[in-house]
């Protein structure tokens, strides 16, 4: 059984973000990278499947720059068997990334029985790669899954919908499933795991190796900017009972004209 897990490397939520001078992306030199948190659930699910199917092989795939391979190393230290890195700039669009992932999976020579991903990446929040990839590979896919039960070649998945209700799907493998928080509790990479990960195979492809060209690029970024600083809050003094009516009117007015929330 071949399981592929697509992982993205994203800036640590505590990292200070600075846009590049030309606005095409953010400065990546000083960034601390982590594995996209939703992808951790995907890796954990793959490892849980492997635990009950010892013959299963878990391959982690990432498209991105080679400078730091934190996400792939973490996944292998957690227990994934091998990794593929498709070398690319970190600001590719969703379509190119999906196409590169498809190319990498095909180039690996292993026929996927299951592809797991996170439901979204916390950097650009595009929520596209899982669906685009499933479409390209012509696989059934379910996203935002919070429950997973494999029996034979059918996976029963639960997916969260508006209002907290759950939908239940029975999906035949091969399929693509995108994980949400709550699916499981990702394990830590153990110290022996970190030591072992160094010896695990990491294949490296270029974008052209996996059939992606400049023409595949549908979106180009040009205007990365920091959000405007939040202005200081306003205080209203309503301790004087005689003036309360006036203050309330003032607050309501500002909520309408300035904050535009009512």
């Amino acid at each position: 059984m071949n399981i592929f897990v697509c992982v993205k490397q994203v800036p640590d939520t505590e990292t200070k973000i600075t846009p590049t001078a030309d606005g095409s992306f953010i400065e990546t030199n000083s960034i601390k990278w982590i594995m996209n948190p939703y992808d951790e659930f995907a890796v954990e699910q793959a490892l849980l499947v492997k635990a009950s199917n010892p013959a299963a092989n878990v391959t982690v795939v990432r498209v991105g720059s080679v400078k730091d391979t934190e996400a792939l190393r973490t996944a292998m230290a957690m227990g994934a068997d091998d990794a593929i890195l498709v070398e690319a700039q970190d600001n590719l669009d969703s379509y190119s990334i999906a196409k590169a992932l498809k190319g990498a999976i095909e180039k690996s020579g292993k026929k996927p029985d299951m592809i797991l991903t996170g439901k979204q990446a916390i950097d650009d929040d595009a929520l596209q790669v899982p669906q685009v990839l499933a479409q390209m590979l012509d696989l059934p896919s379910v996203s935002v899954i919070v429950g997973f039960e494999l029996s034979g070649s059918t996976v029963k998945v639960k997916r969260e919908i508006e209002g907290g209700a759950l939908e239940v799907y029975a999906v035949n493998t091969p399929c693509l499933l995108a994980a949400n928080k709550g699916l499981n509790t990702p394990r830590y990479a153990s110290l022996p795991g970190i030591m072992k990960a160094k010896k695990k195979p990491l294949a490296q492809y270029s974008l052209s190796d996996v059939g992606v060209t400049d023409a595949d690029r549908r979106v180009k970024y040009s205007g990365f900017r920091l959000p405007p600083e939040k202005p200081a809050g306003k205080k209203f003094d309503a301790t004087d009972a005689a003036k309360q009516k006036e203050v309330v009117a003032q607050v309501v007015g500002l909520l309408r004209t300035e904050a535009k929330v009512i």
């Binding site: 190393r73 230290a77 830590y188 990479a189 153990s190 110290l191 022996p192 970190i194 030591m195």
Partner: protein, 378 residues
């Protein structure tokens, strides 16, 4: 000359820090308040390979260097100095076996710590002698096919949970350090009587007790080295453990600085964040300087261990400097937090209480200076 960590050391540090952030920091204040021993978290850290870092690979350990160990210890202590005292006490007790035991003893006593979660205690201090450790009164007598230990130990970390004790005892107090022996004692041996858990200022989650040994029989083969080798084993242990204890102070100091930086950017006084006031800036600058210097001393002391070069003097520099710095830094962190720093609602008062102990155990800051002077003037 190489100052950077290896890729593997960076990953080990990240893992230990992640463990601190997720598992220790959220609960440390509560364990401190209740004086509760964090057994489950201790066990979880052991499962990840973060505990007993001194056990060599040939006896089932991960085969960490002394430098790796201080990196792990700093990161765990960043979560809680008190938790790290419990964790570190295992290494303190196992190091004499690593350094002074024969192959048979290492297999017998170290390997079980790699296959199941076990707790160990190091018993040197007695009610009547702390700094003057060679003045041991606990006696060891030859009982024919076994040794017999009698006496009282004080301030023993992990005692209430110990599966194994390493006990220092004397053949005859008149022999001074030449009479001291180091023995490995199974925690379940008859005659071991635990005192009540001490109610402490800090490190309140760690389990500290007096331990009485009443005619405790120990197999002959449990003595480390020869009769009388105990003192040199203890001193050798301290050369290895002092960088580790120093790194515990360093982790606490780093936490205090990180919190101070964060708070000083948020709190507004006189219309600007505290961080804009030069008096605050200078305190933070001082913290950074002391932390960096502590880390360099600690890494050098550990590196010397790994090179097999005697590090007594540098290990004492590291231990005294890092623990004195930690005391100053955590005190200043409370100062920067102002009135809020004095409240248990905020994390810095605990750091200040925890810092104090590190200037006391494993050789007080005064004793470290005695060691330094002895080395410098000899």
């Amino acid at each position: 000359m190489e100052f950077g960590l290896t890729q593997e050391q960076i990953e080990i540090k990240e893992l230990a820090l992640k463990f601190s952030r997720n598992e220790i920091i959220p609960v440390a204040a509560q364990f401190d308040e209740e004086g509760k021993f964090p057994k489950d978290i201790f066990k979880k850290a052991w499962e990840l390979g973060l505990i007993n870092t001194c056990i060599p690979a040939e006896y089932g350990g991960a085969g960490f260097s002394a430098l790796d160990s201080v990196i792990i210890s700093e990161a765990l202590s960043y979560g809680c100095m008190g938790f790290n005292t419990s964790f570190m006490a295992n290494d303190l007790a196992l190091l004499p076996i690593v350094l002074g035991g024969n192959d048979e003893q290492k297999k017998k006593f170290l390997t079980p710590f790699t296959t199941e979660f076990r707790v160990a205690s190091f018993c040197l201090t007695e009610p009547g002698n702390g700094s003057d450790a060679a003045g041991i009164k606990t006696s060891v007598k030859d009982g024919g096919d076994h040794w017999i230990i009698n006496g009282e130990k004080m301030w023993i970390t992990n005692a209430g949970y110990a599966d194994l004790f390493v006990v220092y005892a004397t053949l005859d107090p008149a022999l001074k350090h030449k009479g001291i022996c180091a023995l490995v004692v199974d925690g379940k041996t008859e005659g071991i009587v635990l005192g009540k858990k001490e109610d402490k200022m800090g490190h309140r989650s760690s389990d500290t007790r007096g331990v009485r040994f009443n005619n405790v029989k120990v197999p002959k083969e449990n003595m480390l080295g020869n009769p009388g080798d105990g003192w040199s084993i203890a001193m050798n242990t301290l050369d290895h453990s002092r960088p580790l204890v120093a790194s515990s102070a360093l982790g606490g100091a780093q936490r205090a600085m990180d919190l101070s930086i964060q708070y000083s950017k948020e709190r507004i006084q006189f219309g600007v964040p505290l961080a804009k006031h030069q008096a605050i800036q200078f305190m933070i600058a001082e913290m950074g300087m002391k932390i960096e210097a502590s880390r360099l001393l600690i890494h050098k002391a550990a590196w010397l261990c790994d090179q097999g070069i005697r590090n007594t003097e540098i290990a004492s520099y590291a231990k005294a400097f890092a623990s004195d710095s930690c005391m100053q830094i955590t005190t200043d962190a409370v100062q920067i937090y102002g009135g809020y720093g004095y409240s248990k609602e905020y994390p810095v008062e605990k750091l200040m209480r925890d810092a104090k102990l590190i200037q006391i155990y494993e050789g007080t800051s005064q004793i470290q200076r005695l060691v330094m002077a002895r080395e410098l003037l000899k």
